[in-house]
Each structure stands twice: as structure tokens, then as C-alpha cells.
Symmetry: D2
Subunit: 153 residues, 4 copies
């Protein structure tokens, strides 16, 4: 059993989940016929974008509110390789955070539904001067209120 | 013998040449152990940047003068594959142009000095409103004057 | 009007067409907010793969028959930029060829259905010793017979 | 002060260090003008390859001995962004391991010698059937003997 990537507190709303699907491209595999490890950051990103878009916490939503959300930490665990032309899904799980952070977990599964790759990313929130925000902006808090109210996911 | 990519007129100064060298990376080769064809645009770009920097016609030089130079046309001819870890050179040849264009030819050679890949790119010059310039900006013309005077290359 | 990339002879079957759709990714755009020119080879590839899969002339079909089909020539014409998050389609048109070659044309269109990028690729057929085939393999010729018979497309 | 990525035992030889240098490419930065987080896996890889080559533990050395060394874990901490055209160094530190693993730490520094990015990777050793090796192959152990003897680094 995998150790959880993020700690949760009793009473935290359950993570939100979004899953995207696609096939491994020819130019993504190496001489061994397996996906080069450096490409998985892009697979995670696809799911991160879908997650943000689905709840109104996308890149442009922050931009429109004068906030940027750079990646502070990225972690990847490789369990099984993906191979050329293989169909796979990437699930993004957004974990509840009381801090001004975006905590996402990622789970890639192959066509046999085996977990091939897992990981997480932590994003900070900065204003346009590059200062770290101590509290999430109002539009983000409005999304969290809906989340806690069970209106999302 | 290869057909020339660009027409030249009698009296045009000879092309300027800059060559860069590097090795094929692990993540650039495919399942056959050869460089995926889509990566060569990046190899050409490395030489394009080196060419621009060497004569003062780099990306930032145009930017500082309110000019952007998007690629209008890119062409690649693949003669021989490059393989993993192979050392190769990319030569950029800037061809003289009386029009407000940047015409570059590229020649990639392997360690045995065989030509493996050739091609060319054509760049337009636009102002910041996206309008095509009919004449190159003064700093560009100053470089061309030096070129014609034999002070470059 | 664009000049045709490939010559056709009277009586040649019409090109086969397949179109794929997707959005521009965050990591595909440059500082100007437009797609970096070197990424379009990958956009073409997505449509090339879809074309091959749709008629039984995919990478694996050739592999299974001891044939590899390297790109010999790639050409791109950039008409308009694609921007971040923009939805676009890539159409691959396979042109009839009596020679042992795969000739494909590509047309990228933005959401307003404007043509943004066009180009073509030419692929050779080689046996596993790297020798150029003078005639297409039987499975390829069987596909062409169907094509001429109007059973495809 | 950063927490160490790897535990060391008293008596373990000091890590081996190799540093590579290069500039940020135009196609590596995003709309904000900073390097997209997913590209750093490639920066680490460049230093990993240089490290392996410098001590005889490169990709080909393992291959020649029937061993593959897939990445099992990759971690990145982003402290400061790198920007377009910025010169940076990537240091790979190979940490001593009694297990059949390759443990490397990475430190990226900008031209002002500030640490911008850190991280680590863990690689397993597998035979050609994909079975995890319980002990490193003899050629690897020979390198370790030299390392312990102070003949490396």
C-alpha cells in the first residue's frame, strides 16, 4: 500500500478527482520502447489543467485575478513502464489545503488498470510582484466554500 | 549535388557561417535508436541563435528595436540518421537578402563529417502590431553594411 | 491560393483525409504566447499517426512486415500563430503515389476555421537492412487497391 | 538550510561531483519568460549522463553488461526561476549506496551562483528480463572500490 503524499485532517472534504485519457506517442518512448521518465511531468500537467478547468481554478482564472501559481515541488514514483501506443489515464486528485497552496496528487494507470506512475505537485500563489500570498484570493476561497459544501466533485 | 535552397545574385556577399557542436541526448532518440525527425527543428534553432548572437542579429537585438522575427517557412531534408550519443555539428549559413527577411540554411554533419541533415528557414520581420516590415530596421541594415564591407565572417 | 505540395496525375484517386483535434498546451507556447515553430512537427505527427491507423498503414503495420518508413523530407509554412489554450484541428491528407513513398499534406486550422499552418512530409520505405524498397510491400498495395476501388475515405 | 535528500553512514566515501553548464533555450521558457517546470528533468539528465560518463557508470556501460537502470523516483524542489538565455550550471552528486541503486542529487545554480533548483533521482538495476538485481554488477563494484580508495573525484 502506498503511503499518502499529503496529510489530511479529520473533517477535510474528500479530494476532487478528474481523469484524462490518451495514448503514448511515438516520440515519447526511448530506445527501450518505454516512455522516457522526463515526459511524465507533462502527463501530470494535462491532468492538472483538466482539474483546474473543471472547478474554475485554471491558469487563466488565477491570471485574471493577478495571481500566478508556480510549481514549488514535484515528485514522481515510477512503478511500471508505459510503452509505445499504450492507452493510459491520468487522474488528478486535488487535496484540501487550508494554506494558500495547491496540492495535487497524480495516478497514472495503464489499460489493465494497473497503477504505473504516481506523484504529486505543490503550487504556491504569488502576486504579480512575486510575493507569496498568505491567503488564497477570494475567487479561490469561493471555490473552496462550494467544495466544502459538497457542490463540487 | 544538392540544389541551392536560396537564389543569390552576382555581387551578393558570401553567406556568413557559424557552427555549433553537441551530442545526441538519450531522450532525443526513438525506438529505432535514431533521432526523431521532429527534434531537428531544435538543432537548427541552436545554430540560428549562435548565428544571430555572433553578428548582433539575435532575438534580443530585434526585441530591443521593437521587431519580432517569426519563422515563416521551415524545410528539412533527412539524408542519414543521427544515433544516440553521436557527436554532430550544425552549421548555420545566413544568406544575403535585399528584402526584409532572414534566410538561413542549415547543414548537420556527423563525426565522420558526412552531411546527415540539411534545411532552411525564412523569417519575416514584424512590428509590435504584427505588421510586416517592408524594410529591415536600421540596426539590421548597419550589420548588413558591415557584411558587405567584409567586416563580418 | 496555395500552390499544391504534390503533383497529381489524371485518374489518381482523391487524397484520403483524417482530422484530429486538440488544444494548445501551456508548455508549447513561447514568451510571446504563441506556439514555438518547432512543435508543429509533433502536431503533424499526431495527424499522420491517425491517418495511418485509419487505413491500416500505421507504424506497426509496416514494422510487422519488416518495413520502416523514415521521414525523408518535412516542410512547414506558417501563416498565422496558434496561441495558448487555443483549440485547433490538424488534417492529414494522404496523396496517391505510384512510387514506394508516403506523401502526406497537413493543414492546421484554428477555431475560426482559418488555416494557420500547412506543410507536407515524404516518407521512404526501407527494409530492415536499410535498403530503399523499389516497390511498396504487398499489404500496402492491398490498401492502395481498396483506395482505387473507392472503398476507403 | 536544506534537509539532506539521502542519509549517509559514518565512513561512507564523500559524494562524487560533476558539473555541466549551459544556457536556457528560447523554447524552454513559458509565457512568463521562465523555464517550464517540466524541463528540469532534462537538465538533471544532462548532469546524470556527465556523472556516469566521468566514472564509467554511463548508460552504455550498464547496457554492455546486460543491466538497465530505470529511474524509480524523481524529486524536484523549485527555489527560484531560470529565465530566457540565462547561463546556469547543474551539479550532479552521486551518493554512496551499499544497495544496488544509483542515488543522485542535483543542484542548479544561476550565474549569480544562487541555488535555483534542487532534487534527486533513485535508479534501480534490472537484468534484461526485468528482474531487480540484489547486488550491483562486478564492473559497478570495481568503480565503487576505486571510489572508496579515493581514486575518483
Amino acid at each position: 500500500m502506498r503511503k499518502p503524499y499529503f496529510k489530511s485532517n479529520p473533517g477535510d472534504p474528500a479530494p476532487l478527482s478528474v481523469t484524462v485519457e490518451r495514448k503514448v506517442r511515438f516520440d515519447e518512448v526511448d530506445m527501450m520502447g518505454i516512455v522516457w521518465h522526463g515526459r511524465y511531468a507533462g502527463y501530470f500537467e494535462d491532468a492538472r489543467v483538466a482539474m483546474g478547468d473543471s472547478v474554475g481554478l485554471g491558469y487563466m482564472n488565477y491570471c485574471d485575478n493577478g495571481v500566478v501559481t508556480p510549481i514549488k515541488q514535484l515528485h514522481l514514483d515510477y512503478h511500471k513502464p508505459l510503452t509505445h501506443d499504450e492507452l493510459f489515464t491520468t487522474e488528478a486528485l486535488m487535496h484540501w489545503s487550508d494554506a494558500a497552496r495547491i496540492n495535487m496528487e497524480f495516478i497514472i494507470r495503464n489499460e489493465a488498470n494497473e497503477v504505473t506512475t504516481t506523484g504529486y505537485s505543490v503550487q504556491l500563489m504569488l502576486d504579480l510582484q512575486g510575493e507569496v500570498l498568505l491567503a488564497a484570493p477570494p475567487f479561490h476561497q469561493a471555490v473552496m466554500a462550494k467544495w466544502r459544501g459538497g457542490e463540487l466533485g
